[in-house]
Amino acid sequence: MPITKTADRWRPGTGTTALRDDLTGSNATRQRVTWFTRNQMRIAPAVFLLPAMLLFAVYVIYPILQSFWVSFHEWDGLTPDMEFVGLGNYMELFGFDWELLGILVDDGESYWRALVESANDQDFWRAIINNVFWLTLFMLAPVFGLAIALFLNQTVFGIRLIKSLFFFPFVISQVVVGLVFSWFYDPANGLLNAIFGSFGVPQFSILSSESAVTFGIIAAGLWPQTAYCMILYLTGLNNINAEQIEAARIDGAKGWSLLSNVILPQLRPATFLAVVITVIGALRSFDLVAIMTAGGPFGSSTVLAFKMYEEALFNYRQGYGAAVAVVLFLIMSVYIAFFLTRMVRQER
């Protein structure tokens, strides 16, 4: 590639004339040609980008590489000695065993059964299953959010205040949301049991039931998440092309068919954003689990994010924790890649 072409790419699209004026001194202000004026198109981007990139490199990129490395070790995090164990942590996570491999060669079906039975880390599988629950049920947030947005998209007295109050749960800390909901679920004094009690349902403690606890936490998580999706949809509805709606109405479209054929396609950007943020929120779920149950009872409400924290900081198994983090990271990467491709395509 000729050198001039590369040099051109450093310059902004139409800024070259100004630069040439600078170089020839024909500019009205007659700037002196210094090393700086000649090279500022190279210096400026570097100066502007350097501080942000430096911090980002040190605090985000480097730790990702380092976590992968730590996950190949057994390490308590207290002493400096790390013992290299290769894929040992991952084998433990997934319950892999060399003996089992022999069974696989003989009979594939019994291998899977043996694998599930031998998995020595049941909590890890529990966490994965719970993350799947989070992911699936969190998809209700865009749906509820759209419903509330449609409900609120009117002009009546006080509607602005009402919209902001509906948005409230998203603004407050998850710690507060967790506190509020653990109390809401409280078997002795909670409102939920008071309501159920008035229908004659016996007292029930959601947060100490192994089968219900995850759903209780997800419901708490849906509260702020729905509020967020609602705001996205309200903004989307605000920017909808009014003429198209009128035209569709004249053509006789109304209610459901108007919504699904005219409104929803126009809300596509809002839906995309709502789904992306919701997926990420579901995979990142940590705060509520930590506050409401700390993964309990007996690890039944744990998720990958919490499992990792617990292994690394409470069980002093940093390598094992890092392996959990890597698994979570890889799952998330699928979604990130999906989002990035879309974004980069938009830039072209």
Partner: protein, 329 residues
């Protein structure tokens, strides 16, 4: 407008709608209202299990004073402010600069390789600075740079993608190394450890926002300044910064809320009361005040108040920030 404006419907439907509106709002905020109510209840109410009925007495001032006098809540509050404000300021400065650069300049693809050089070499240093490792790392970096250049990937897009991707990664993948790093820098269990990390992480999000905002500014203004002979730094300071004020306001409220509400990093990077922010502090107090729900509730309200106030004061900017990308794309 969709759905059909309520004003076009019958009077009765309108009244019904307004009524439903307020009732549903009350149901939606019920858990929060209950907490607010409990925070002013008397001890007798709590002891009698009167959580959801009308309070037997109002202890507004007593309860809230008690929260501040009987615990380190005041300290936590100050810590949260001291963590949040420098983070917001630092992020805004860095992100406005990097957002400007990514929006304005065309960069060659190999800058991605240059950018990755620092973290990769840090990693090699941590793993072991053998000749083989260094050569391997340099080869990998050269390969990335070459690939970016040959594939004609634009450098500014690659960097931008990097910042966006960084936003979405799970915190857990950063946890162990960031903790070590903070410890090595002597900032473990201090406010500055949290500030440094938050600035680094939030810069990704804020850069995304700023870059898109600056990209949307009329290019003629910047060109005109260039023709006038302004240098790039003058353009940044005198032309761009005044124009991005709305974006700065939006970022400021959003980041304020995110950082104020952060819980995970407060757990990971801080241990003692002297640096603990209010979120972690509240959770710690919950353990101490087992049955004193009136105090826990008052504490929760105190913790929730600053972001709520921020939201109400700067609502327009807040929503503009959050819904970035919800209307186009």
């Amino acid at each position: 407008m969709f759905p059909t404006p309520i004003a076009k419907l019958s009077r009765r439907t309108q009244t019904a709608y307004k009524l439903t509106l307020w009732v549903s709002l009350a149901v939606w905020l019920l858990p929060l209202l209950a907490v607010a109510m409990t925070s002013i209840r008397t001890l007798e109410d709590i002891a009698a299990g009167n959580y959801w009925g009308w309070p037997g007495g109002f202890n507004l001032i007593e309860n809230y004073t008690e929260v501040f006098t009987r615990s380190a809540m005041g300290r936590f509050m100050v810590n949260s402010v001291m963590i949040t404000l420098p983070t917001v300021l630092g992020t805004l400065i860095l992100a406005t600069m990097s957002g400007f650069a990514l929006a304005q300049y065309k960069l060659p693809g190999y800058v991605l390789g240059l950018f990755l050089a620092l973290p990769v070499l840090m990693f090699v240093n941590a793993v072991g600075l053998g000749a083989v490792n260094v050569i391997l790392a340099v080869l990998v970096l050269a390969f990335i740079a070459l690939a970016m250049w040959r594939l004609r990937v634009r450098g500014e897009i690659a960097l931008f993608a990097m910042f966006i991707a960084g936003n979405f990664i799970p915190f857990q993948i950063l946890m162990i190394p960031v903790r070590e790093l903070t410890r090595d820098l002597g900032m473990y269990d201090t406010i500055w450890g949290l500030v440094m990390f938050h600035v680094a992480f939030q810069t990704g999000f804020a850069t995304l926002f700023m870059r898109n905002f600056i990209k949307g500014l009329p290019q003629e203004l910047i060109e005109a300044a260039r023709v006038e002979g302004a240098n790039e730094f003058q353009i940044f300071w005198n032309v761009v910064v005044p124009l991005v004020r709305p974006a700065i306001a939006a970022m400021a409220v959003l980041i304020f809320t995110f950082i104020w509400n952060d819980y995970f990093w407060a757990l990971v990077l801080v241990q003692s009361e002297q640096a603990m922010p209010i979120t972690a502090g509240l959770q710690a107090l919950k353990g101490q005040w087992v049955a004193s729900w009136q105090l826990i509730s008052a504490g929760a309200i105190v913790a929730a108040l600053p972001p709520v106030a921020m939201f109400f004061l700067m609502q327009k900017h807040f929503i503009a920030g959050l819904t970035l990308g919800a209307t186009k794309g």
